[in-house]
C-alpha cells in the first residue's frame, strides 16, 4: 500500500500558500475585495481541514477554494453574462494539466473532474473545495466525464 502524505499542521499549510492565494484573489477581485475573500478562503479550508484524508495536492485544493470564493464574490457583484468569461479565466492555475479536455465543461463539473482525475483527491475533499456534498461532487465528476466523452467522440 502506498504511504499517504501526512497532513501538515494548518499553520504550516497557511504559511506555505497564503501569498499565492492572496495573489490569485487580487487578480480576480482587485486589491480592495481580495482581503475578505482571503479570509473566507482560509476559513473554508480550515473548516474542511480535519476531514482531509491525506496531505497531497493541498495547493490545488486551496487554489480551487479560492477560485470558488472569488466566483461567489463576482456572482454577487456582476451580471451573469460576464461570469462565463470569469469562469474560463479562473480555471487556469490549478487546471492547466487537463485544460484542453475540460475547458468546455461547466465550472463545477470541470473542478470535480480535474480534482478527481488530475489530482486524485477524494470526493470528500472535492466536496469541501466546492462547498457541496461528496455525492454532488461524485455526480459532477461523472457528468463531466460523460460530457467529455461525448465531445471527444463527436
Amino acid at each position: 500500500m502506498m504511504h499517504a502524505v501526512a497532513i501538515p499542521p494548518f499553520e504550516r499549510f497557511y504559511e506555505q500558500h497564503s501569498v499565492e492565494v492572496l495573489r490569485l484573489l487580487r487578480r480576480r477581485l482587485g486589491t480592495d475585495r481580495a482581503d475578505d475573500a482571503f479570509q473566507e478562503t482560509f476559513l473554508r479550508a480550515l473548516k474542511a481541514y480535519r476531514r482531509l484524508d491525506h496531505g497531497e495536492h493541498l495547493r490545488a485544493w486551496v487554489l480551487t477554494i479560492a477560485q470558488n470564493v472569488a466566483l461567489d464574490a463576482l456572482r454577487r457583484a456582476r451580471p451573469v453574462a460576464e461570469l462565463v468569461d470569469a469562469a474560463a479565466e479562473d480555471s487556469r492555475p490549478a487546471y492547466e494539466d487537463l485544460a484542453e479536455l475540460t475547458d468546455g465543461l461547466p465550472r463545477t463539473e470541470r473542478a470535480a473532474v480535474v480534482l478527481r482525475y488530475g489530482y486524485d483527491l477524494s470526493y470528500d475533499q472535492i466536496a469541501s473545495a466546492l462547498g457541496s456534498t461528496p455525492d454532488a461532487a461524485r455526480q459532477a465528476a461523472s457528468t463531466g466525464v460523460r460530457r467529455i466523452r461525448r465531445s471527444v467522440s463527436s
Binding site: 499553520e11 492572496l22 482571503f38 479570509q39 480550515l46 480535519r50
Partner: protein
C-alpha cells in the same frame, strides 16, 4: 508581496472565534525567556521553553489534531495569569488544563504535582508515595522531565531527597529562577 499584518491578524482571530482551531498558540515573553504557550478549546495544553514554533507544530498537532494555528487570542487567559505570576501577583493558577493523550500514571502524578503549593518544594519520592507507588521515584522523575505544562504544573518545585535541584527540562537556571521568584530559595 506579503500578507499585511492586519489581514493576517483578522483571519487568525476569526478562526478562533468560529471555534475552528484544534490548538492555538503564541510565543510570550517572560523573565525566564520566551515561552511557546498552546491552548485547545479544552484548556491549556502546553508550555514550551523551545519557543520556535516550527519545531513544535507537529507535536501540538499530535495532541489535538491538525488545525494548529498561531493565534494570540486563544492564549489570552494563560498569558494574563502567567504575566501576573511572573510579576509576583499570582500564586495559584486558575486555568483549565488539557491533559489529553497522557498515560494514566502521568495524569495521576501531575494531579499530585498540582497540589504542591507556591513557595514550597517536595521530592520525587514523596510524589511517588502520594500516588501510591513509593518505589516509583525514578518514573516520577521522567514524568517531571516530560511535563507538558511546566510552570503551571510546578515541576520546578520537585527536588531530590537531599535537597539537590537535580534537573529541569528547560535548564537548571530556569528552575532556580522560578524557585527564587517564589521565595523558596
Amino acid at each position: 508581496m506579503s500578507i499585511s499584518p492586519d489581514l493576517d491578524h483578522r483571519f487568525r482571530e476569526a478562526a478562533v472565534t468560529l471555534e475552528l482551531v484544534d490548538m492555538g498558540f503564541d510565543v510570550l515573553d517572560s523573565p525566564i525567556g520566551q515561552l511557546l504557550v498552546a491552548a485547545s478549546p479544552r484548556g491549556l495544553a502546553a508550555i514550551s521553553f523551545e519557543s520556535d514554533p516550527g519545531d513544535q507544530l507537529e507535536r501540538l498537532a499530535r495532541i489535538a489534531g491538525p488545525c494548529v494555528l498561531r493565534s494570540p487570542k486563544s492564549v489570552d487567559t494563560a498569558r494574563r495569569e502567567l504575566d501576573e505570576y511572573f510579576a509576583g501577583r499570582r500564586r495559584v493558577f486558575d486555568l483549565t488544563l488539557d491533559l489529553r493523550a497522557l498515560p494514566p500514571f502521568t495524569v495521576s502524578v501531575l494531579h499530585e504535582l498540582a497540589r504542591v503549593r507556591y513557595g514550597e518544594t517536595t521530592t520525587y519520592g514523596a510524589l511517588a508515595a502520594a500516588v501510591g507507588n513509593p518505589k516509583a521515584a525514578r518514573a516520577v522523575g521522567t514524568v517531571m522531565n516530560r511535563n507538558r505544562i511546566p510552570i503551571v504544573l510546578p515541576c520546578h518545585r520537585v527536588v531530590g531527597a537531599s535537597g539537590d535541584l537535580v534537573g529541569y527540562a528547560g535548564g537548571l537556571d530556569k528552575k532556580i529562577a522560578l524557585l527564587e521568584l517564589e521565595g523558596a530559595r
